[in-house]
């Protein structure tokens, strides 16, 4: 299987604290990989290092596009990473609260558009075409995520589950081949989690993307993922299929006494 993401010996230190300590990770084409671990294990830090929010202290992050171009991401800005084809969502929802649902998705299309300032002012045929296409595409994405009835609603006024979905929709609008989801099911009820499960599977099948997700809901994780990575204290402590990981004594030990939302 061809890898889309290869992380080797990734290290991140804050002062003296090793938040990540030599993490290795690969994700293949069209694969769903879950990243689990106790609170504070370094999962979100890993996400931030991958997406350029933090600059890694050591190691390397490389992505390979479906066309076969490999790019080293270390030190690239978040916007560059996104335009290269890796999109993400956030643990604490970060929607553009005072923009409408449609606009949120349109923002996602930003890096696939080209109109500049002159285009915006002159509004020539090309810009108009592009703008129309963006509205069109965005609406279609909303339909796919069953958010079309909220089109002109402010993002902040959406129900919680819909906000989570909108975040994914917005990320998908950037046309990624690798999607990073940070606790997508946090705070959802059973039904919403079930819908999310279906949604992620559908995304993988229809859009042919790879997904890396952080999640505490073990039921969701085991049903979704092809492989699971377990991290603790910034280190990878286990890796394997859901069945393997679940009975791994190291993992059980790491979680022992920890309260998890499973």
């Amino acid at each position: 299987m061809k890898a889309v993401l290869t992380v080797t010996q990734l290290t991140k230190t804050f002062g003296g604290l090793h938040a990540l300590d030599g993490v290795d990770l690969t994700i293949g084409r069209n694969e769903i990989v879950a990243l689990i671990g106790p609170n504070g294990a370094g999962k979100t830090t890993l996400f931030n290092c991958l997406t350029g929010v933090y600059i890694p202290t050591g190691g390397s992050v490389e992505i390979t596009s479906p066309e076969g171009h490999t790019t080293r991401l270390n030190g690239l800005k978040p916007d560059k990473v996104t335009s290269l084809g890796m999109a993400r969502t956030f643990q604490n929802i970060r929607l553009f609260q005072n923009m409408t649902v449609l606009e949120n998705v349109m923002i996602g299309r930003h890096c696939r558009m080209h109109a500049g300032i002159p285009g915006a002012i002159l509004r020539n045929a090309r810009t108009r075409r592009e703008e129309k296409a963006v509205i069109d595409d965005s609406y279609r994405i909303l339909e796919n995520f069953q958010l079309d009835r909220y089109v002109n609603e402010f993002a902040k006024n959406l129900p919680y589950g819909a906000q989570r979905r909108l975040e994914i929709a917005r990320a998908m609008a950037t046309e990624p081949f690798l999607l990073l989801l940070d606790e997508p099911a946090a705070g959802m009820n059973a039904q919403e989690t079930k819908d999310l499960d279906d949604l992620i599977v559908r995304l993988r099948n229809k859009e042919e993307i790879s997904i890396l997700l952080i999640e505490h809901d073990m039921k969701l994780v085991t049903s979704l993922s092809d492989r699971i990575f377990v991290v603790d204290y910034g280190r990878k402590i286990a890796e394997g299929t859901p069945a393997e990981v679940c009975c791994n004594p190291v993992v059980i030990k790491a979680y022992l006494g920890e309260e998890i939302d499973a």
Binding site: T51, G52, V53, K77, P78, D79, T82, S83, A87, R88, F90, R94, L95, F96, Q97, N98, M99, T100, L102, E103, M106, I107, G108, H110, C111, R112, M113, A115, G116, I117, G119, A120, I121, R123, T127, E130, E131, K132, V134, I135, D136, Y139, D148, V151, N152, E153, F154, N157, R170, A171, T174
Partner: protein
């Protein structure tokens, strides 16, 4: 339900007690400064007891109003929390209703076109000044209202524009029409120059640094005599000529007025288009959430810089017209208070809302002229209005409305502002 009962007892005993307390408190508070005037030069003391009475009576009555307004506001917030994007107040509903807005627009166009034919020279003069502020405020609206970058030194770009015209005219006898785009371009350039170092800063740090830049520009203009003629300023800046003709005073004012109307229309046109474009959405997203914005593939640096620079362009052009209209400029016209006033045009009018900013600038520049008789109290009232406005109507006179898109079936779509 409790709100209603509270409203009922607005004049109950409890309320009167509260107001009495407020009244006594304010009488205590204002006692030394309002009542006692110690003249340390002539060593005399003047007691002005009658003022205490006015303060007391005023505080007593106003405290009722204050509490009533606060309650109404809190009830309003509760309502708003459950409200939808489609919820708008009366003014916005009127504005978005074509049956009202089209005739209103027609009347406005007619009003501004016939203005100089109907009104006196003085009216034309103050309206022109107000329009200059409209343009400049619209520029600042891009920076503050759309991109959410608090700029307290915006007047620096205004000064750049004004001095561009004045200096180019003094040294190279360049005319108004050549200087107008040059002023805009230099504004843009300064926007980029000043924007670069402050890109990493956020919120309050940005505010103080931009304030610093504003002051730096003014101080340089004040001190560098060889370059800018120092604090005594530059006089005899020519008013724009019309096809090489020298116009009489009234004609000239009328001409600048129409020129300003044109520039205003042009500004509104451009700002509207920018707002509804890819770049405009990026500005708004940047205001809402920087991190998420970058995660969506938006280049923070370029987006911020473009907001700074485009905002500054309008200030530069406004400055050129300002210099041409006043015919005299000196650094004292570009103090931090000028920045504050322009910022207030934006905030009072309604951040991010074009029509709001236009209304804000017109109100803020015209009302003081019409209330010249009370000019002593002008700034006092201005300060009060700022506070009250923020407390009771923080979204400004006319708050911004997000664009609404209508989809009638798949692929059949129509954007409507």
């Amino acid at each position: 339900m409790s709100e209603i009962s509270e409203h009922k007892i607005l004049f109950g005993w409890e309320e009167i007690k509260k107001s009495l307390l407020t009244c006594i408190w304010f009488m205590f508070l204002t006692f030394p400064i309002m009542v006692i005037q110690v003249n340390t030069i002539h060593r005399t003391v003047e007691w002005r007891w009658e003022r205490l009475f006015f303060v007391g009576a005023g505080a007593f009555l106003l405290s009722f109003l204050w509490r009533y307004m606060i309650r109404r506001k809190e009830a309003g917030i509760k309502r708003e929390e459950t409200a939808q994007n489609t919820h708008q107040d009366l003014l916005q509903r009127l504005l978005s209703n074509p049956r009202f807005s089209r005739p209103a627009l027609a009347v406005a166009v007619l009003f501004f076109l016939t203005f100089p034919l109907v009104f006196s020279l003085y009216q034309i003069d103050i309206m022109t000044t107000a329009l200059i502020y409209v343009v400049v405020a619209l520029g600042l609206n891009i920076v503050v209202g759309l991109a959410g970058l608090l700029d307290l030194g915006y007047v620096a770009f205004f000064a750049v524009g004004a001095y561009t015209y004045a200096l180019l005219n003094v040294h190279f006898q360049l005319g108004f029409w050549i200087c107008l785009p040059i002023g805009g371009a230099l504004g843009f350039l300064f926007g980029v120059l000043l924007g670069f170092p402050v890109l990493r800063l956020r919120g309050d740090y940005l505010a103080i640094v931009t304030l610093g830049f504003g002051e730096i520009i003014r101080l340089v203009l004040e001190n560098w005599n060889e370059f800018s003629f120092g604090p005594s300023g530059i006089a005899n800046i020519p008013r724009p000529g019309f096809m090489g003709m020298d116009l009489a005073l009234h004609q000239n004012h009328t001409y600048i007025y129409y020129l300003m109307v044109g520039l205003t229309v042009f500004t509104i046109f451009v700002v509207r288009r920018l707002q509804d474009s890819r770049i405009g959405r990026a500005w708004t997203a940047l205001r809402e959430d920087e991190i998420a914005c970058q995660a969506m593939g938006i280049n923070k640096t370029r987006t911020k810089l473009s907001a700074f620079a485009i905002g500054a362009t309008w200030a530069g052009m406004g400055g050129v017209v300002f210099a041409a209209k006043t015919t005299f400029i000196n650094p004292a016209s570009f103090t931090i208070w000028e920045s504050v006033i322009i910022l207030c045009c934006v905030v009072l009018g309604g951040m991010g809302s074009i029509i709001g900013v236009v209304a804000g600038a017109l109100v803020l520049k015209l009302l003081p002229e019409y209330f010249r008789a009370f000019s002593e109290y002008r700034m006092l009232v201005f300060g009060t209005v700022l506070v009250l406005m923020m407390v009771f109507r923080p979204s400004g006179l006319i708050s911004s409305v997000r664009r609404v898109y209508r989809f009638e079936g798949r692929n059949k779509l129509e954007g409507q502002p």
